[in-house]
């Protein structure tokens, strides 16, 4: 699952890093490091993390079939 965090919004509340430590980690006190591509096994935790973000900065892929992405028809 692709994800991105809007780090302009992020204020380092670390809820995501508490709830889904496989995907999100704090780097120092306030900086967030995350895996831009989360393992399918962490889908539920990722949903927990995204919902818990106090500034709603986490965007998880809304497209189920990423193949839609780049079908290169002309």
């Amino acid at each position: 699952m692709r994800l991105v965090v809007d780090l302009n919004r992020c204020q380092g509340y670390a809820q995501c890093a508490f709830l889904a430590p496989e995907v999100f980690a704090m780097h120092g006190e306030e900086a967030l490091l995350y895996h831009p591509q989360a393992d399918e096994a962490h889908r539920e935790k990722l949903a927990q993390a995204a919902a818990a973000c106090p500034v709603q900065a986490i965007l998880v892929d809304a497209v189920d079939a990423p193949a839609e992405a780049v079908s290169d028809e002309r």
Binding site: C10, E30, L33, D61
Partner: protein, 463 residues
């Protein structure tokens, strides 16, 4: 192309072409669909990849916690677009409404969005730039190649330029235990963006983490061995640094060359557009079918004296893309201006650096909260008696307050007491920005317009 009828037609069956398939292009396309655009959508990108996120390329990827091919951006929705990836746009015919592609194709449009962004400025001497082991970092391929080389455990990494990207690269290398030398022309890292007072803190941070930081020097030459591999860098102070990986981190160049001769107001400073993201032509007349968004745009900002700003900021790309998309599908009265307050972040050496406003317009700085020595603080920048920008080191939660001060053009220095305002945080200091006439890299905000006080321009009437 005016009146309700044609707009209805555009929404239903018009052709919108987006040149630039990165963050701004993607978010604009999603917004178009969200707002009910049902016509044909074509996404053109010179890289062969679907839109990906760049900030991780200098952080997670270099640290080895993610791979560059795993940075594709999540989608807000399905796009139903035709993707022309790996094919650069090479020209624009404004009269005919067509974009020319590198493979000879021409793509017609009713509305065009240009979001071609910037590219890394290469090392100026091509024969040295081509040495094996010399890198730049902007694209997914750049990052893959550099990460692979770092994983091989080079003896020393040499970073040219201590802007944000250069500093982040140095930070990642140190975290991986690699020896790093950073050479910076200015007196300290990050001075272009944040000035010398904060730059001094950044310098300490680097040295404390074991970076061999050399400021006030220029790199005079890169030297290769017989096999064409880089082996050393020579500095203006006479020093020679033995190195096997060189990362050239000298800022970015705007991707506007493909528009040369098109009649659009595009040049090395970017593409000028109005506050509604509509591009100007070279005569200074605003177009009504060509829009610009992201790093390649330069647009006037009401908070900053309507100066034209070029912002190499992630949040600006998203915001401007959304507004350009909205305006494309709107009657003139329904259009909205792009008034995003500049904001960016960087994380390096375990510190979260965030900024709002335009620090580089500031002439003075006051440490309003915390202390520089602790490296936890908010620095507030002042310009002509008002608050113009702020930077936080591990103090992000306070920034919304300072953004409000910027938005309301509050007086500088802030006259009121605040929690954790220290005695030395009462009086402003010279923010110590380098002379703007000396080229720097990494200011992340470029004032690319001309203020009335600027007398370098001469007006030559045409005949």
């Amino acid at each position: 192309m005016s009146g309700d009828g044609s707009l209805e037609w555009l929404r239903r069956e018009g052709r919108i072409v987006v040149v630039g398939a990165s963050l701004a292009g993607l978010r604009a396309a999603e917004t178009l669909r969200e707002k009910g655009f049902a016509g044909s959508l074509t996404m053109i990108g010179d890289e062969p990849y679907e839109p990906y996120d760049r900030p991780p390329l200098s952080k997670q990827v270099l640290l080895g916690v993610a791979t560059a091919d795993g940075t594709a951006l999540p989608r807000r929705r399905a796009l139903d677009a035709t993707w022309r990836l790996g094919v650069a746009a090479t020209g624009l015919d404004m009269a005919a409404g067509r974009v020319r592609l590198a493979d000879g194709d021409e793509v017609p449009y009713d509305r065009l969005l240009i979001a071609t962004g910037v590219r890394a400025r290469p090392w100026p001497r091509p024969e040295e730039a081509e040495l094996d082991g010399v890198f730049v970092l902007r694209t997914r391929d750049d990052s893959t190649a550099l990460a692979r080389r770092l994983a091989e455990g080079p003896k020393r990494v040499f970073v040219i330029g201590a802007g944000f990207t250069g500093s982040e690269i140095a930070s990642a290398c140190r975290e991986r235990g690699l020896a790093v030398t950073v050479a910076e022309r200015a007196a300290a890292p990050l001075v272009g963006a944040l000035g010398g007072v904060v730059g001094a803190v950044a310098a300490e941070l680097q040295r404390e983490h074991g970076v061999d930081l050399r400021c006030g020097v220029m790199v005079t030459a890169l030297e290769g061995d017989a096999a064409g591999r880089v082996r050393a860098a020579h500095l203006s102070d006479g020093a020679t640094i033995e190195t096997d990986v060189v990362v050239v981190s000298l800022g970015a160049t705007r991707n506007t060359e493909w528009l040369a001769g098109s009649g659009l107001g595009a040049g090395p400073r970017g593409i000028a557009c109005d506050a509604g993201c509509r591009a100007f032509d070279i005569r200074g007349i605003v177009t009504d079918d060509i829009y610009v968004a992201g790093d390649v745009a330069r647009s006037p900002h009401p908070l900053f004296g309507y100066q034209f700003l070029s912002l190499e900021h992630w949040g600006n790309a998203v915001s401007q893309a959304e507004i350009a998309a909205h305006n494309m599908l709107s009657e003139s009265a329904d259009r909205i201006p792009h008034m995003w307050v500049p904001a960016f972040w960087s994380s390096q050496f375990g510190v979260n650096i965030k900024s709002v406003g335009v620090p580089s317009m500031g002439t003075e700085i006051v440490v309003a909260q915390g202390s520089l020595t602790d490296r936890r603080f908010v620095g507030v920048y002042g310009y002509q008696g008002r608050v113009i920008g702020a930077v936080a080191f591990d103090h992000a939660r306070w920034l919304p307050f300072y953004q409000e001060l910027i938005e309301t053009t509050a007086p500088f220095p802030p006259p009121f007491p605040m929690v954790d305002r220290r005695p030395d945080g009462q009086r402003p200091m010279d923010a110590d920005f380098p002379d703007p006439s000396v080229p720097t890299h990494g200011p992340t905000v470029t004032l690319s317009g001309y203020s009335p006080a600027d007398r370098r321009m001469t007006f030559t009437p045409a005949h």
